[in-house]
């Protein structure tokens, strides 16, 4: 089970990761000042893009700075488990808020509710 060697990552890789992170940061800033929602005629484009970039940054940090790329399966499992659980919390909470009959749709007479 125990891998009997230590993995050493070269500093060159760290420099390139840092560069990539900085570029992504720049991209985040640029994206924030372009109204994508207007450009693409839809909601949430800006927000989604910002989140996606943040996820990319996080993945870079996790894989290289935190050495998960070279780590055992157990580490992979633990690193992802936390996010899976966060997704549970998020999904089921919003499953409630997202399907609430509008602030109070409840007072609407029921003949309006049943098609």
């Amino acid at each position: 089970m125990a891998e009997k060697h230590d993995h050493v990552v070269s500093p060159r890789l760290y420099v390139s990761v840092l560069t990539a992170l900085m570029l992504l940061l720049a991209l985040t800033l640029v994206a924030a000042f372009v109204d994508l929602d207007k450009l693409l005629h839809g909601g949430y484009w800006n927000m989604s893009l910002a989140i996606v970039i943040a996820i990319f940054k996080a993945i870079l940090i996790i894989l290289f700075f935190m050495h998960v790329k070279y780590a055992s399966r157990v580490t992979w499992a633990f690193a992802s488990a936390a996010f899976v659980w966060l997704a549970i919390l998020l999904t089921l909470t919003f499953a409630d808020y997202g399907t609430r009959p509008t602030p109070a749709e409840s007072p609407v007479p029921s003949h309006r509710l049943t098609p």
Binding site: T28, A32, D37, N46, A50, I62, F65, S72
Partner: protein, 252 residues
């Protein structure tokens, strides 16, 4: 009982419950990851609440976001990414067994982290002057410019200048919306908890530096540096999400 860390003379200090240093190392790494998993949910619950309210009060949250100095947040993101890099280098130094490298890079990390905290403190100060701190002085009417003090006022002017240069939406005049308070509350709670993590991190780094100076670490034994590195990178990741969530809500 040979419970304690074996003294410096011993090249491979292994605590008595472990069979060998690999087991020890894997255990501490896994322990750190488990701890980070709890941290993910710790911050995660905050993000969930934040997202909910942001969804409920999009306008107020956007206005609140416009009150923040996004460029300071941006600089801070860069600073923090840099500190993460320094930390990675410190771990690298540890893995090649260089105590002096550990010390050098940890000091660098601390310095960069201090810059981050300094900028953060400046931001807090500006927000205080702008009467944005809930429970302390949040007011629906932004204070007039002459009451702001030189620093805050010049940041305000810079803001407007930048907004025109970038053709970005400036902070609207007129009263703040009541739910902006909720935004500011989240902003302060989240950034303060994040900053607390950094301060704890700096304290631990000081201990690590002290240990490195006593030559505790070697190519074979440097778990503490490595595990701390994980923690520090995690704190960085949190900020990577905080920054766009709090500072960049520019579009409806």
């Amino acid at each position: 009982m040979s419970e304690h860390l074996v003294t410096e003379t011993s090249p491979h200090p292994v605590e008595h419950q472990f069979e060998d240093r690999y087991q020890q190392k894997e255990a501490s790494t896994l322990g750190m990851w488990t701890f980070l998993a709890t941290e993910v949910l710790f911050f995660g619950a905050l993000f969930v609440s934040y997202t909910l309210y942001r969804h409920q009060y999009p306008d107020a949250f956007r206005q609140g976001s416009l009150e923040l100095k996004w460029y300071l947040g941006g600089i801070n993101t860069a600073v923090l990414l840099l500190s993460s890099f320094c930390m990675a280098m410190a771990v690298h130094a540890a893995s090649v067994g260089s105590n002096s490298g550990i010390i050098r890079y940890l000091i660098l990390t601390i310095a960069v982290a201090a810059i981050f905290l300094g900028i953060k403190a400046t931001e807090y100060y500006i927000e205080y002057r702008e009467q944005l701190v809930p429970a302390l002085n949040f007011s629906l009417a932004p204070p007039p410019e002459q009451q702001l003090g030189a620093l805050t006022a010049s940041f305000g002017r810079f803001d407007r200048w930048l907004a025109t240069r970038l053709h970005a939406e400036p902070l609207p005049d007129g009263p703040r919306s009541p739910n902006e308070k909720l935004f500011m509350l989240f902003y302060f709670v989240m950034t303060a908890i994040h900053a607390t993590h950094m301060i704890i991190g700096i304290a631990i780094m000081l201990v690590l530096i002290w240990m490195a100076r006593r030559g505790k670490f070697s190519r074979e034994y440097h778990n503490p540096v490595e595990c701390f590195g994980l923690y520090w990178h995690f704190v960085d990741i949190v900020w990577v999400f905080l920054f766009p969530a709090l500072y960049l809500l520019r579009n409806p």
